[in-house]
Amino acid sequence: MSRVATTWTIGVLVLLWVPIVLLAAFSFNEARFATTFTAFTLDWYVRLFEDRELRGILVNTLVVAGGSALLSTVLGTMAAMGLRGTFAGKRVAAGLVTLPVMIPDIVLAISLLVLFRAGGIPLSLGTALVAHTTFNLAYVAIVVSARAESLDPSLEAAAMDLGCTPTQAWFKVTLPALAPAIASGALLAFTLSFDDFVITYFTTGPGDGTLPVKIFSMVRHGISPKVHALATLILTGSVVLIVLARALAGTPKEVRT
C-alpha cells in the first residue's frame, strides 16, 4: 500500500515539474523550432533585454504590483485586526473579506469591468491596480489574521496598564509582533499581482499590458524560445518571492493555501 502510494506520489510530482523544467531548459536552447536540445545559448535572454517594448511592460507590471501590494497590505492588515475575536456578524464580515479568494477570477474581472464601463471610467493601469488590490486584500487578511489570532490579547492590555495609549500599545506591541506576517502578506500580494493574468487582461487599458498579458498575446503568435526565456524569468522571480514570503511568515503548524 505505502509503496504504491510512494510511486504514485513520485509520478504526480514528476508530472507537475517536468513541463516547468523543460521550459527552462529550452530557453537556453539555440535552435528555434527544435524539440531536442542542440546547443546552449543565452541569446534569447539577450534579445529579451534588448526589447524596448518589453521594458515598458515590465515597468507597468512593477507599478501595478507595487501599488496594489502597498494598498492591499494596509487594507488587509486592517481587516485582520478588525476580525480578531468573536463578535456578531463576524461570519458575514469574514465571508466578504475572503470572497475575492474564492470566486473565479473571471467573475471579479468582469464585474469590475462592468462597473468601470457603467461609471464611464476608462481602463488604465489605475483600474488594474484597483482590481488587484481587491483580491490581494483578501490574501493579506488571511495571512495576517492567522498570526493575529495566535497573538495574546493580554499583551496589548498589559501595555495599556503600563501607561500606553491604545495607539501607542498598537504601534509598540501589536505591530512589531505582526510585522513578519504583514511583510509576508505584502510579498505574497506583490507576487500574486505580478503573476495575475485574467483580472489584468480585462481591467487594464489597451496600451497598458503587463508581462502575463504580453505572454498571452505572444503565445498566439506561436511558441518561441524568447517566450521561454521570459516565462523562465517570471517563474524564477515569483519562486524567489514566495520562498522569501514563507521564510518571513515562519513555519505555521498547519499548512495553508
Binding site: 502510494a5 475575536g85 473571471i106 471579479l108 486584500l137 488571511i142 493555501t257
Partner: protein, 247 residues
Amino acid sequence: MNDRRWWLFPPIAWLLVFLALPVAVTASKAFSAAGVEALASPTTWRLVGVSTLVAAVTTAACLVAGYPVAWCISRMPERRRRWVLFLVVLPFWANLLVRTYALMTMLRPFSVLDTWFAAVFGLWHGWLPFMVLPLYNAIEKLPPRLAEAAADLGAGPAQVFFKVIVPATMPGIVAGCVLVFIPVLGAFATPEMLGGAQAFMAGSRIQLAFLSGRNPEAGAAMTLVLTAITLLLLWGYRRVHRSEGLL
C-alpha cells in the same frame, strides 16, 4: 473592546465598492432585455453544463491523483515532509499562464493540443495543489492507529479505507473539491490556450461577449450564473465546514 471593529471600516468599504457593487451592477445588466434573452437561451445553459462537467471531471481527477499524494506526504518523516509539500505547493504560486505555456510546449509533440483532453489536463495540473493541501491537513490529523484499530476489529483494507479513513477525512475532501471546482468552473486562460476552439467554456463565452463588444449583456448574464453557482457552493461549504480561521 468594541472600538476594535473600526478597523473593519476601510476594508469593508473597499470591498463594498469594488466587489459587492460591481457584482450588483453586473446582475442588473444581466436582467436587461438582452441579458434575459441570454439567460433564457439554451446555448447559455449548454455552456454552463459543459463547464460544470469539465469542472467535475477535473475535480475528480485531482481527488484521485491527490489523495495518495496527501496520504504519502503525511506518513513521511518531518523534514522530508516539508520539502515534498513545498514541491507540491510551489507550482501553485508560480505563474499559471507560464505553467500553462510550459504544458503547451510539453504537449505539442504529442499532438493533443486544441482538444478537451489537453484542456482538462492543464486544469488538473493547475489546480492539483488546491486539492492536496486540504487533504493533507485532514489526513495529518488522523490518529495514526485508526486504520490499525479498524483492521483489528475485522475490516478488510477496502472497508478500512471507505468506511473509516474516507469519512474521517471528509472535511478535507469537501474543502479540496470546492477549492478546485469553483475556479475551474470559471477558467478562461487554460482552456483557451490548451484546448483551443474545441474547449469552449463559459469563461471563453464571457470573454468573447465583452471584448468583441457585441453582446456584453449576454456576458453579464453568464457571469451572473457563475457568481450564483459559486455563492451557492460557498454557502453550502460554510454550513458544513466551520473553521476557526478565515478560510
